[in-house]
Amino acid sequence: MTTGNPMNMSEYKKNLLGRDNCSTKEMDETVAEFIRRTILKIPMNEMMTILKAWDFLSENQLQTINFRQRKECLVQDLVGLCEEKSASVNDAALLDIIYTQVHRHQKVWDVFQMNKEPDEDVDLFDMEQFKCSFKKILQRALKNVTISFRDAEENAIWIRIAWGTQCTKPNQYKPTYVVHYPQTPYAFTSSKLKSIMPLLGQALTVASKHHQIVKMDLRSRHLDSLKAIVFKQYDQTFENHNSTTPLQERCLDVNMDSRIIHENKVEKERVQRITQESFGDYPQPQLEFAQYKLETKFKSDLNGGILAERKEPLRCLIKFSSPHLLEALKSLAPAGIADAPLSPLLTCIPNKGMNYFKIRDK
């Protein structure tokens, strides 16, 4: 029997069971729609990998599907299979986590840092206890919330939360993701909802046995770069031949023509050296912007004037954007677009773990 569309399947099942009402084992229409939309997002070349990672549909079931048909039809067939197995909202949520783990750059990640009391003992991290505690805190506060966990590489735990209220079901289309590295005080969150932050912070802090949680002034789409910055792993050179030759040698190799003479070789070498000191020899972590908020009272040598009497400070916002901000900054002085050394406000970004700055009068 070929897989029909989901409606036929549920009708067939209803007749089989001889019941008028939907049995509790049947898949909810909203879950079906959620699964359908999630699978639709997956690019065709990733479909098999993600479905296998999900491990909800068996090898046998997947073999009955024609993966060469048009995507809409393929998705319908897959949803049909999920119907057969009565996928729950938790199964669907797991698929959503896997999709997001592969496409993590589609979210913007904030970074939070927790700390313990100075005299608190370092407890051994118990994963089950963490999950249990986290769930309890959220479920006590909001009756309707979908919480899913998935372990990931390097001991990380990914948490997906779909938020509801006391009376409404959770909205599966606006979930919050949290990535936490146990034994470290860091958590990365992606959330468009500001209102849930205090509760989420509390759940994280208590479940991981910390005392306090603070939002860092660091934000990016590149989760791995954020991780490299907070764990101070960005200054490790990778094992490829490009990074083993020092910067100077590589640049001078290009200019082999002896008919071209650089008059300012000394200056050029000084710039290369300073750039290497500020940025190192390794690939920079990837950030998309740096933002500087300046607040200052007007200062002038002249006496009086309207601006000098102004009590409120003047405000100014400067934002640098780039597909790869730190590499772009690194190339400014060698390209002759800026003087070396660059302002420490620019070069301190990975070191301080900040890309949002507030500059005020002292």
Binding site: V254, N255, D257, R259, I260, I261, H262, E263, N264, V266, E267, K268, P334, A335, G336, I337, A338
Partner: protein, 141 residues
């Protein structure tokens, strides 16, 4: 104050030396490479400098042509050229200096006070805007 003078040295035999002055090294390098690809009646050498004055401890041939390269998007590069011009003797400007503006094709007008306004104000005698594949001024030498 060291100043470049056009006739303070004897010319090299069958050689031509062009000095490119500009703050953006990659642009100068690109221009130099293109120039050297062209056929030249004399043996061509190209010197690249970020600004003038040139380092004084170097033995260099007589400079036959100075090209000031200005990036029309960068006030910084214009500033460098303006400051460098003080170190060039007035007589050099009689046929041995030219100004090259780059980036003209991409001038956009939504970034506030662009240095494009300065470029339009340039009333210097030999202001040419050339595409990156500019012809060599070998004929002038």
């Amino acid at each position: 104050m060291s100043v470049l003078r056009p006739l303070d040295k004897l010319p090299g035999l069958n050689t031509a030396t062009v000095l490119l002055v500009g703050s953006e090294d990659a642009l100068l390098q690109q221009l130099a490479d293109s120039m050297l690809k062209e056929d030249c009646a004399s043996e061509l050498r190209v010197h690249l400098a970020k600004a003038l004055p040139l380092p004084s401890n170097v033995n260099r041939p007589r400079i036959d042509l100075i090209v000031f390269v200005i990036n029309l998007h960068s006030k910084y590069s214009l500033q460098h050229v303006e400051e460098s011009m003080h170190h060039v003797d007035a007589s050099f400007f009689l046929g041995r200096v030219c100004f090259l503006g780059t980036g003209g094709g991409r001038l956009s007008n939504h970034h506030g006070a662009a240095s494009g306004a300065h470029a339009a104000d340039l009333c210097w005698p030999r202001t040419w805007c050339l595409s990156p594949e500019s012809a060599v001024f070998a004929e002038d030498l």
